[in-house]
Symmetry: C3
Subunit: 204 residues, 3 copies
């Protein structure tokens, strides 16, 4: 079994944050309220659904009603926020922060599920990264943008670093909840620092 | 087991209709005959393959030869149609009607499979909707368009309404074939009415 | 079990070739070194991961560390190559040849896995084709291009022909390694001939 408590916390946080981020992205792209709701839900559920397909189980987004309900709450929050924000959303702190929280929380859920599914250490890092970047990438593709994971060096990189931190904490026998909490904290801090200081890798 | 007769009927109708719709979409996008065939097949098989992956089974499109054969018949019909239509296809009734039939029939197959796989009621509606909109969305992404599911409020909405009708019919104990038939009829009628009367939801 | 030796050979060749092809494609699209690495890895792992999901097993890219390691070696080779090539990459023989090698090798892996998974003969050809064209198609979508499989008639066609040759060799009882070797050779030769002689199918 997945260690249930850490997974549940990270899952709810990630669903809410990505539902908000995806909805704001949809509003920025000029979609109407239905498009906002669809893109918010797809962003929230996309990474976890990909994660569950990869480890060969029926996605939680279908098997339960909880994930969809939380995503819809996030969409509701976002619609309020869109009315308050006015104007350009793409680089607004509300978008960038909620997106970073979603990235952090979902990377942790991916690492937790990877360990439980018995994939290789490499696989834990990859599954965490795919889970973290998956929802936003699917949303970007749907609205015809090159996914941020390809445009911004420090979108997948924080997830990889967080996944390694997760493995290290597991390795030293940290108690339940510490590996995933450490992973999420590191992903969030590295992502926000990269945005703040405009970290870039050199061109090839 | 899936209730076989209703599933088989909806599956064949959906495969034919979406193979035609996908082929017409490809011709509209200026693809040559091979691109038309590929996009027709992808549109026909895409939604059902996604559905089967989500409920964790080998897709019927691979396990049997039937689905692919029916899709190729649909492509053949579409090539005849393309020669008869001449000119713009995107808003032609032949395209819009075949697309609505595919949406209706595949939503019903998704709901049937969802019930059989034992997913939640929410999950039945979501799986029906994903199955209905999946093939056309993949086709849109392949030719570089924002999927119609994001551009048109009443593309996913009819599928959601049809999925709810399916659940309601199941709930009251309607005999075999009624829930899926009702679902497909409602999806088709709501979709065609939305096109005819240009239903729109307000912007956020 | 998959016939291990032929699968392992084709898998390593395909991973290296597609990691190079995907990295060159990313450089051509103006991505920086991180984008090059991500697109190289996605191109290398995308087709096989799709293949494994379709036959309902945990992708080798997650379950083992080998595939990712080989893909990263390919990315390293490509970065050296990018510095040597200078300028336009899209139609460079280094790109077209590595892409054709990847297409050939992965089509063979897909056919091998299809036989082992017990899918229909049609399914073997389809799975080979999807595995061959999958990685490049995902990469194209990520950078916002219409996938080559839709733009070029003789991208999926060689894979279909190779898949049929695989089946024929199996049918006559060819010894281990011959069906996959024949398949890969035919895919590669048909693809290169189509590029050299600019084979096209007529418009509809």
């Amino acid at each position: 079994m997945v260690d249930l408590a850490p997974f549940a916390v990270m899952n709810v946080v990630g669903l809410l944050a990505f539902a908000v981020a995806g909805s704001l992205k949809a509003a920025d792209a000029g979609l109407d309220v239905f498009g906002v709701a669809v893109l918010g839900v797809v962003t929230a559920l996309g990474g976890g659904t990909t994660r569950d397909i990869l480890v060969d189980r029926v996605p939680a987004s279908l098997a339960t009603t909880g994930d969809m309900s939380v995503a819809l709450v996030g969409v509701g929050l976002a619609i309020v926020l869109i009315h308050m924000l006015q104007g350009r959303v793409r680089d607004h702190p509300a978008f960038l922060t909620s997106d970073a929280i979603g990235l952090a929380a979902f990377t942790a859920t991916g690492a937790l599920v990877g360990v439980e599914a018995g994939v290789s250490p490499f696989g834990v890092v990859i599954l965490g990264t795919i889970t973290g970047v998956g929802g936003g990438s699917i949303a970007d593709i749907l609205i015809g943008r090159v996914p941020v994971v390809l445009r911004d060096d420090f979108y997948a990189t924080p997830a990889v670093v967080g996944g390694l931190a997760f493995l290290a904490a597991q390795w030293v026998g940290a108690p339940t909840g510490i590996p995933s909490g450490l992973c999420a904290a590191i992903v969030f801090l590295v992502r926000m620092a990269a945005l703040r200081y405009e970290w870039r890798l050199p061109r090839v």
